[in-house]
């Protein structure tokens, strides 16, 4: 146990360096063709690309990237000049502090607009910076009402805020025949907002909330709260949270012998929920804003292209990021200018037929859209039931 020698220390440093180099060395060589002679228009995308919701962040990036690639394939001209769009994707690590740094970074880099951020907690602080710079920000997934309540004419979102969806889900739960309802809320701003609206609406339709339980978005064990709901003899469980928890929750519901209906919001209406829930997911209900993707013009194409390009299935918000990017590009094309002064009014008044439904904004920048679709898992797939106002 002699003191560590200098030699050994350097050997360890050496090991570390070798480790790193071998790491980098895994890669081969290739080259990228540069499209010269075109004006480059930079558009930003921000979402968490590291950390525990990085899979959702990458999904957003993929959606935005697909829209950019399609726009480039159309070889558009703006202001009489051929243009090529370039996506600058940044990682905000889902941290509010980082979000303002990357926002400023995008502004410095000269982006003309930004698709993002993913979480409300990062979208709101960043929106001040985009507003100062006067460029458009379209969030594909931030549902916190505060975001569009700041009086910024640069802040938009293409996803319904929680109020609408919660209302429809509450009424739908009663329609399914539920009388005693147990609610599970994942304590994120999405989960809280949706759960509150759901409760209001379910009670107004004549249901009774027998239990309101909570978890958080890092947990995987729900047996304690499910047991409590079981003791309250609930006949329906509403989970206000994401698919990565809803899937395992289905299995635990079955294992505990609960005989209940299961309903969740758009956070659960995904392919991943089906994979994680397996056979136990059968019979679960979920909602999703807008019309079903395969009913929309371009929706089937989008799904196909996404799976082919990125070799994975859509997580949740990629179609929204795709629509947001397309709406921004359409506004630029309509204005025939990349100056925010010219395109912002066009964006505010846009009528874009997106894959998640028609995209147009109200006074505050929230999406104008009245429809929520409902689905049920049947034979391992999401089967469409109906679309409600």
């Amino acid at each position: 146990m002699a003191a560590t020698g200098k030699l050994e220390r350097f050997r360890n440093l050496f090991c570390g360096v070798v480790f790193l180099i071998s790491f980098l060395g895994l890669s081969g060589c290739g080259s990228d063709e540069q499209n010269a002679g075109q004006k480059v228009i930079k558009i930003g995308q921000v979402s968490p690309l590291t950390g525990n919701i990085a899979h959702l962040g990458k999904d957003n990036e993929n959606g935005a990237r697909l829209a950019i690639e399609e726009a480039n394939a159309r070889s558009l001209s703006i202001g009489g000049e051929k243009v090529r769009f370039e996506l600058i994707s940044e990682d905000d690590e889902a941290k509010p502090l980082k979000s303002t740094i990357v926002a400023q970074k995008l502004v410095d880099a000269g982006v003309i607009g930004v698709i993002g951020h993913l979480n409300s907690g990062t979208t709101i602080p960043a929106s001040k910076i985009y507003n100062d710079a006067g460029i458009a920000q379209i969030s594909p997934s931030a549902t916190n009402v505060n975001y569009t309540n700041q009086g910024f004419d640069t802040a938009f979102r293409v996803i319904a805020n929680d109020a609408q969806q919660g209302r429809v889900l509450g009424a739908f739960a009663i329609k399914l025949g539920a009388k005693k309802i147990g609610v599970i809320d994942d304590r994120t701003d999405y989960g809280k907002g949706l759960a509150e609206e759901f409760e209001k609406s379910a009670v107004a339709s004549g249901g009774e909330i027998v239990a309101h339980e909570f978890t958080d978005n890092t947990k995987t064990d729900f047996t304690a709260i499910l047991t409590r709901i079981k003791s309250k003899e609930a006949d329906l469980i509403f989970f206000s949270g994401m698919d990565a928890q809803a899937g395992p929750m289905m299995k635990q519901i079955k294992n505990l012998g609960l005989n209940v209906l299961f309903l969740t919001g758009d956070g659960g209406q995904t392919q991943q929920f089906l994979t994680l829930g397996g056979a136990e997911a059968e019979g679960a209900y979920a909602s999703s804003p807008g019309e079903p993707l395969d009913k929309m013009s371009g929706g089937k194409d989008f799904t196909k292209k996404y799976t082919e390009t990125f070799n994975q299935s859509i997580q949740i918000y990629a179609p929204y990021a795709y629509d947001a990017m397309n709406a921004l590009i359409s506004a630029i094309v309509a204005a025939d200018s990349v100056d925010p002064k010219d395109y912002l009014p066009k964006l505010a008044a846009i009528e874009h037929a997106g894959v998640t439904g028609p995209v147009s904004f109200d006074q505050k920048g929230d999406i104008k859209r009245g429809t929520i679709s409902l689905y049920r898992v049947s034979e391992g797939r999401w089967a469409y039931i109906e679309t409600l106002e």
């Binding site: 146990m1 220390r9 064990d221 047996t223 990565a244 395992p248 994979t275 994680l276």
Partner: protein
């Protein structure tokens, strides 16, 4: 009353998982006095390697029975985790054995960040699901439900604990470990190869971590590169609650923490008249921890005073 029994079962299962991970923490701590923050990530790697091994073996040209696949995949996971832990110790901890106390804590955190992100590169950002290698059966017992996986988790934790205690107290290697824990200098004077003993400790801890990783992903049928951190944190809490450095303490602490969490989540709402609900589950768990430590500053089973601050 059947609800109470069910909550106890829930707590026991959760607690056994914590205990299994906590054993790894406590073994390393007992010998080196080091919080191995990267241990949770080793658990994650165990789960991920197992799933990869299953898909490779299952999709290979050989037709293997499910139980063969499980055995080989578990062995692969244990093997990979052991090698990983061996190198973690060699690279990040051994050079710092005589350094200021917080230095290895920082390298441990660095290791944890490193492993998590490398895992993200290798296995991707998606959640992985546990393959259906066996039928999950649910048994009803006095109004409470329990599955075969859950019974298996509790059983294997107890078996591993017992065999670990046997190894530590009955074998020569175990005696060397105990000697090293008492005093590395004197142990080496007595002919114990301290470095080998420490490497061995890490390897055994990693083997347990791999098994824990497989059991966790089997029970919740989910695996993800970020699963290790929170699990490791809870296990570390459990180890401290039981008295860190003490193997029986880790087991007791783990099961106690599991019980506190599930009973807390089940009854806080009723106890506080709806003022607080299951969202205060962790607050409740930490409060119990603080109260225990106020009255027993070295945990429930801890004897040695951790005077290395």
């Amino acid at each position: 009353m059947d609800i109470f029994l069910q909550q106890v079962i829930n707590g026991l299962v959760l607690g056994s998982v914590y205990a299994l991970v906590a054993l790894g923490y406590t073994m390393v701590y007992g010998i080196l006095g080091l919080i191995n923050f990267a241990h949770g990530e080793v658990v994650m790697v165990g789960a991920m390697v197992f799933l990869t091994a299953v898909s490779v073996l299952g999709g290979g040209p050989l037709v293997l029975s499910n139980s063969t696949i499980i055995v080989f995949a578990v062995l692969t996971a244990i093997f990979v985790c052991s090698i990983l832990a061996f190198f973690i110790e060699r690279i990040a901890y051994r050079p710092l054995r005589n350094a200021p106390r917080l230095a290895p804590l920082i390298t441990a955190i660095g290791m944890s960040i490193l492993l998590q992100n490398i895992a993200m590169m290798i296995w991707g950002r998606q959640y992985r699901t546990f393959p259906e290698l066996f039928q999950i059966e649910s048994y009803t017992f006095a109004g409470a439900n329990v599955t075969n996986v859950q019974l298996f988790i509790v059983g294997i934790s107890i078996a591993i604990m017992a065999s670990l205690l046997a190894v530590i107290h009955l074998t020569k290697v175990g005696r060397a470990m105990r000697a090293t824990a008492e005093s590395p200098q004197i142990a080496s004077l007595m002919g114990v190869n301290v470095n080998t003993v420490i490497s061995l400790t890490f390897i055994i801890g990693a083997g347990l971590a791999a098994i824990a990783g497989v059991l966790v992903s089997a029970n919740y049928s989910i695996a993800h590169y970020s699963m290790g951190f929170i699990l490791g944190l809870k296990a570390f809490t459990a180890a401290v609650l039981g008295g860190i450095g003490n193997l029986t303490g880790a087991m007791v602490g783990g099961i106690l923490l599991g019980l506190i969490e599930s009973i807390g989540a089940g009854y806080i709402g009723d106890l506080t008249g709806g003022f607080m609900g299951s969202h205060y589950q962790d607050v409740f768990a930490f409060l119990v921890l603080i109260i225990v430590l106020v009255f027993r500053p070295t945990g429930i089973m801890g004897e040695r005073v951790a005077d290395r601050s």
